[in-house]
Symmetry: C2
Subunit: 349 residues, 2 copies
DNA sequence: TTAGATAATTGGAACGTTCCAATTTTGTCA
DNA sequence: TGACAAAATTGGAACGTTCCAATTATCTAA
């Protein structure tokens, strides 16, 4: 099959023009005559030419490579998959192409993939940092003038833009809602305590309890892996307490689903016998039974915003870091058995 | 900040050697003296040099670019996310880097991303084709000698390797299992009938029913989107039948979870009042309550195998298409209320 | 010593593109 | 028709690397 690569020179030859003209056509320059353009394009199609972006990049090293990198810390978590999809949407429509990698929560792997991306000449990076990422890891990137946008998690001391959700307010609203429904013993389930996100949400939890004149009971805080399995384990522990909680806010939706599973294993009906609130609003939160009350973060929207922010910085040339805190909204569904909810359900009948 | 790019020549200059020597060092050639290598490496680190893979590729156009592309049809489906993670594992350890894109089930988008990948000089492609992909879409790729491995779905007439799971046997085993437990009315829920995967599974369903001397009732086949929401809708319809089914095999795990949700909404207990079997064995299948009985496909393993197959073809140079059908295994858990299962549960107490 | 082998190093051409300055073609108007 | 402007085209240099053939430095053994 086609062993030899077809180059711009072959095209020029076949079309009876110079390589410069072909180049102009490729860039859709207005300088070239309409008839010539048509002929060149015809030859291009005929010979099956494929543009060599590597060579082009080489020449215009100052310009941008039209690749943006994105690395997430856990692709198997649908939150991040959706985030990536959101990024892809805007990146694509801006004529860029996405280079997606998964660090799997390993800083070493993260370092590797970022290095590899640099070698390929990305013009910007969207990073959901692995746990334990140090500002020094990002230093060389920003030093070489490549815009970076951190999402979901901050990296302390890194001079890059960031887009995180309002963890504090989200959790505060969730707890207030439960307290408003009359719950006194509200557990905080799931998540690793050594992360900034955990601490922000925890702060919101404590703050809301204080607000509502409820005591903070340390045994009601049960940390675990931020996964479905972690949620099962956490509720398991919480139900072994002498004084059981009657409601829980969860570190994220995955934990919340696990909690629902665990409740059922104990013959408790989530939403009826026990109120559960999640965090993230992943896509299944709406269709699960009971539909999950959760703090909506809109991962796709977050991805879109991050991409827009990055593109803005790429186009501006200068990259002055801005820290954006995305607002967040409690979506009340069935899993917390609210009055509002029952009314809604009735009205649907 | 570092405006000027550091090149191999700068390194050569600073280290007092020629650019050729620096190049040799970069390639870890045994030809270069140990002392020189050390010095050059020191300078490289000191000046913050980053390798320009584009330029390298340009020179050694015959050789491989160390990029492999992977495009999936729905990244938000965790099956594909895990597949991608599996691919990443082996691709990474072979020194390649992964270029992941999402076609979102659109052939146009798929065409775009594949074109873009070609321009970037991928040395191989793993493709989970969007619905409606035509053999002609892959033609130019294979014509230019780039190995392609199709996963999950075949593309009729395309002369590329493929790796699909044994849909027929998997579904057949699932139905046999249910029939063996005494179920007579077994529904087939979810999936779009215009796909090859659907038809293979359907064939397994019919075959097993015939095997077990059970009648095929067309109303027990309810298609829907292959998603959680689709599963809810499908069981909803199935429960409206005069003669209800007592068990269901589902197109995939997402549908199965939706079916469980739908059953609960009708106050039916999945695993007790109604048997449910999924397909795929996504990660949540184990931790869900009830744990899902399902046909295990091991998406990560499939990704790994696909990547190995692709690398083999890349290294071999020649790409003779081979079609691999991955074997598949019924994993019995709680959701089908089997006798085995109850025994297991007891033994755990 | 020195011839011969081996180990290290090196300059220049090449990869496929874009940019620049220069040239040729076409168009306009007196 | 000539003079000038505008439009279209063009050759060559450059981007950062690798490869090749050629050169120089170092070692070995008689």
């Amino acid at each position: 099959m086609g062993k030899e690569r077809v180059t711009v020179i072959d095209i020029a030859h076949a079309a009876g023009v110079s390589k410069s003209t072909v180049s102009l056509v490729l860039q859709a320059s207005p300088l070239v005559n309409e008839a010539t353009r048509a002929k060149v394009n015809a030859v291009i199609r005929e010979l099956g030419y494929v543009y060599n972006r590597g060579a082009a990049n080489l020449r215009q090293s100052n310009a941008k490579s039209k690749i943006i990198g994105i690395v997430v810390n856990d692709l198997t978590n649908s939150f991040f998959a959706e985030l990536a999809v959101g990024v892809d949407m805007v990146v694509q429509s801006a004529g860029y192409v996405q280079f997606l990698s998964n660090s799997g929560e390993s800083v070493d792997r993260q370092r590797e993939v970022i290095a590899s991306m640099r070698e390929h000449g990305i013009s910007g990076l969207i990073l959901s940092p692995a746990r334990g990422t140090d500002a020094a890891d990002l230093k060389p990137l920003v030093a070489s003038g490549i815009p970076v946008v951190n999402v979901v998690r901050q990296v302390a001391g890194a001079k890059v833009s960031s887009l995180v959700s309002d963890n504090f307010a989200g959790m505060r609203d969730a707890v207030r809602h439960l307290a408003g429904l009359g719950h006194h013993r509200i557990a905080f389930l799931g998540g690793f305590p050594d992360t900034a996100v955990f601490n922000e949400r925890m702060q919101g939890y404590r703050d809301a309890l204080a607000d509502m004149d409820l005591a903070v009971h340390d045994e009601l805080v049960v940390s675990s892996a931020p996964s479905r399995a972690g949620g099962v384990a956490a509720i398991e522990r919480a139900l072994m307490l002498r004084e059981r909680p009657t409601a829980a806010v969860c570190f994220n939706d995955a934990v919340a689903f696990g909690v629902c599973d665990g409740l059922r294993a104990h013959r408790l009906d989530p939403g009826e016998d026990f109120a559960v609130i999640g965090f993230d609003d992943v896509i299944e939160a709406q269709t699960a039974v009971p539909a999950l009350t959760t703090v909506s973060v809109d991962p796709q929207g977050m991805g879109r915003r991050a991409a827009q922010l990055l593109l803005k910085q790429i186009n501006a040339g200068k990259a002055d870091a801005e820290a954006i805190v995305g607002s967040v909204r409690l979506v009340v569904r069935q899993s917390c058995g609210s009055a509002t909810d029952k009314r809604e359900r009735l009205s649907l009948l």
